[in-house]
Symmetry: C2
Amino acid sequence: MDDRTQLWNDFAAQLAVDSIRCTTAANSGHPTSSMSAAHLIAVLYADHLHTNVAEPADLANDRFVLSKGHAAPVLYSALKAIGAISDDELLTLRRFGSPIQGHPAPVPELPWVDVATGSLGQGLPIGVGMAFALRLDGSPGHVWVMMGDSEMAEGSVWESMETASYHKLHGLTAILDLNKLGQRGPTMHGWDADVFRDRAEAFGWSAIEIDGHDVAEIDAAYTRARDADRPTMIVARTEKGHGVSLVANAEGWHGKALSAEQAAAAIDELGGVRNLTITPPKPESFIPIGSGAAIAATTPAYEGPIATRKAFGDALAWLATLRPELVAIDGEVGNSTFTDDVLAAAPERFFEVYIAEQTMVGAQIGMQALGKVAFSATFGAFYTRATDFVRMGAIGRADLRLCGSHAGVSIGEDGPSQMALEDLATMRALHSSTVLYPADGNATVKLVTAMCDLSGISYIRTTREATPSLYGPDEEFPVGGSKTLTSSPDDRVTLVGAGVTLHECLGAAGALAGEGIAARVIDCYSVKPIDAPALRKALEETGTIVVVEDHRVEGGIGDAVLDALASTGPLSGRVFKLGVTEMPGSGSPTELRAWAGIDEASIMERVRAALG
Amino acid sequence: MDDRTQLWNDFAAQLAVDSIRCTTAANSGHPTSSMSAAHLIAVLYADHLHTNVAEPADLANDRFVLSKGHAAPVLYSALKAIGAISDDELLTLRRFGSPIQGHPAPVPELPWVDVATGSLGQGLPIGVGMAFALRLDGSPGHVWVMMGDSEMAEGSVWESMETASYHKLHGLTAILDLNKLGQRGPTMHGWDADVFRDRAEAFGWSAIEIDGHDVAEIDAAYTRARDADRPTMIVARTEKGHGVSLVANAEGWHGKALSAEQAAAAIDELGGVRNLTITPPKPESFIPIGSGAAIAATTPAYEGPIATRKAFGDALAWLATLRPELVAIDGEVGNSTFTDDVLAAAPERFFEVYIAEQTMVGAQIGMQALGKVAFSATFGAFYTRATDFVRMGAIGRADLRLCGSHAGVSIGEDGPSQMALEDLATMRALHSSTVLYPADGNATVKLVTAMCDLSGISYIRTTREATPSLYGPDEEFPVGGSKTLTSSPDDRVTLVGAGVTLHECLGAAGALAGEGIAARVIDCYSVKPIDAPALRKALEETGTIVVVEDHRVEGGIGDAVLDALASTGPLSGRVFKLGVTEMPGSGSPTELRAWAGIDEASIMERVRAALG
């Protein structure tokens, strides 16, 4: 056995031992899923993951994504071996307050982890985004994604396999840890590596079958994968719990720590505790080639009616000229959401993933992790396809800029399958989220501009049809603010709208004025954070608030308004919520808003009854 | 040309003509995506879709799912030809109030449509569920799913390809309408039918390549597919807009109606308006073999602590003995959610789809469409993978019974990727939804029992850890009700909890009593519908409500309580919401509830501050 072979095997044994030590200390976690990956990780970190440990943000670095996030102990053990964390830190696994969480998360103390994993099937879409970003920058970095065999059942894996081969992302390698045991028992295909090899090849990848505990085979496969002209999947047959007779290839050991006694015996069997220090290979230095240039564009400004979705596209294309890090990802609806405007302005920074929303958001997570200001857009309804990715993005401290178009019943004839009606509820509930909903083109431009500098999840909701211009191009729209469009000391009611319903509120206020009822109108363009002081003032001054939204009555603007009022003091007065309560069908936007009870006439009726 | 060939071609021309007529009448819609499928649909409805038109619910019928739902006009045109709807009805396409919506939906007037489509990539998962149900009943019915090539980019397609071959669903055929033009332009693979053939074969299907406008090839392929020993994909090269020179294989015609003049010329080119009446082949009669028998079980009842997730499994296994139509679908977490108890009790009615949540819910939609009382379960966090499927289920009037386990920060050490923290917000916002959250085992049994008879989307949220028993086994838990656990005329505050936080509320109330503060405690086990009268009474009698939930502070129980109060009269008093506002890490359940400010001590602090 040559020196390198010895080192790899020793390192693998150390990773297995440390995975056992930290899970036994935590009395929970996944030692056996870590042990199946130990040799794969050892060879990767020792000789193939080009990374500058002291500079984890260096764009020349290779990237490693542990898609099978429950095997976090082997990752943390590798981070210990490369000197990123200490052995003491490793042993805080799963403790309250520790950055060494049950599944990897890029908390500030752990800059060697780029993204959160733990929801299966997300690593490869994220890796696609990283490979996009590295290629755009001209980085020599390679992306390595380790996957488990259970997660191969997730469709998101095959979505991103397709994207990777279509876009010829040869800078991406998937390492499949085929340990053949899932949470409940055997996986569908066991050790039939050829199933995955054949599928990968049918999806346009190269594929290599290896013994995942044979370090020479692993080493050779990594070299071939890095040099391949297409993305490569390495299908590695492994044993769950490898190296310890008690748990090796044994059912009933998923997600279970060894007792102290079992651990001691296991560590003995693995040759005892080691303290190897590993220095991964250095990345090649490179000079970023810079993102593609953009055609200069003038600041969008509108006087007449414009659809906010079109203003979004105009704004994004314009911002692309100002911000070289801005990229846009499309789920094959760019001619509807108007991300196609970015394609026209900065074609290298437009990424088409076709109708694959999970990959769209996954790739976005990967791109922002490498410093891109990444926007994605699809129909608001279809972000529901990627809710888990947005959720994991929030956990991963990702800055995701999302645009959901075609909001509400106002899309009209296409019917409910295309209508975003629950998007505000879901997006509001996410940690770190900002939820914006402009009513005109100029507001849209300002809010999209603001999104470039927001952290966390920001979501802008746009409307299919054109809406009149309400604001001049110089009006400012601070996040967390609102606009009071009509106001007088005689106001007896406040109408709160956003997006398309703001126009209905304005119409109603005008008509109510004719009936002698003064109504205040507030544009709640910032749904989260919401302008609580303005709303409280309105309730105190007018006594009655009517919130009108083209969204389900639960979880949206109405609930946000009630929350703002409850959070800022005692409640008094009345708050009425007008929103969608039944299941729409087809119809014109006007018919459907009337049917839903969110149009001008419905608002007036509600106000008359309330003030009656 | 023989008579049958003539008929098929005439019928196809009629379908194309009628697709043009109705979209031109509507001035919107998808004629060209309908025309590519005309021959495929013609041969299917004329000679292969065994169906009793007068009895669309007949379980002997074949099933047709139009996964490319935007081609609805060709489906409606076929329904006209078989006498299900009239020509006048066809021409109401996309009009307000018409059942002939922009995308197919199973409204009561249209019993020939089983499920809603229009969000791409959902038809095949649904077809998998239909094939499961037909096989379980011993029906001779075959399931035909028509897919578009753009939707082949959706991972859900490949998820369900895997499920179908793994479960040897030879009663399922996918018809791929390879018209090579998507919404924005060319698809990834154009007319490269071999790409899809190879992938289908790699996924364990048989595959047949045909010319999708050659009726003899279509007929032969359908016969082979029905007789195959495995699921079959028919890859049919077609032309978008086939038969009309203006639009045939032309870009820029996606989702666009022809003008009246263009339509007239197109109809001429297609040979004019026809009024063929088609009688599909009759289904074979069969005697349902009945669902698998279940091992008798006693009614679950608890005295000591039990995890509500375990009570869910116990209840489901017991209900399986009482209800032969009950089925359970698992996403490979059945030993965590305890659907494994159904596997033990009634193995034929337990369906394992592995880690494929989109397929899990899609299959559930398919099974309930054929009369099954279908439950699915996974971690509440992972339903976010299938949000779009649940949303489309609501649009499709599906009765979906969902159990989300491992709710909240209370799961502890595994960390945020495994925590359901936004599930109540999303589930509450869905049309027709019921949201339940029991605090003990006996309540769980009653609520799971109630779910069997609920229509629409019902969601029960369960807890990982054991919680004490609060109720006897005979206590009733009506949907929309609540339980007031402590109450006195001296109550100065009301604590509202559900699930795990109810126990924290009870602890706080006990401790506050020691400080001379009488607190009412309400178990809000029915989050939607919520017990508005009890909450209003509590606000009026105690003046202050503190809502405590192991969920994000947005969109959950707190918002539901505020909504209930606002909906039932003027607001007065104070409502405080305690929920999760920051990003959790790992820790023990107790540590994390304290950190989130939703434990007994935090509640007491909030009450003291509010009343101080």
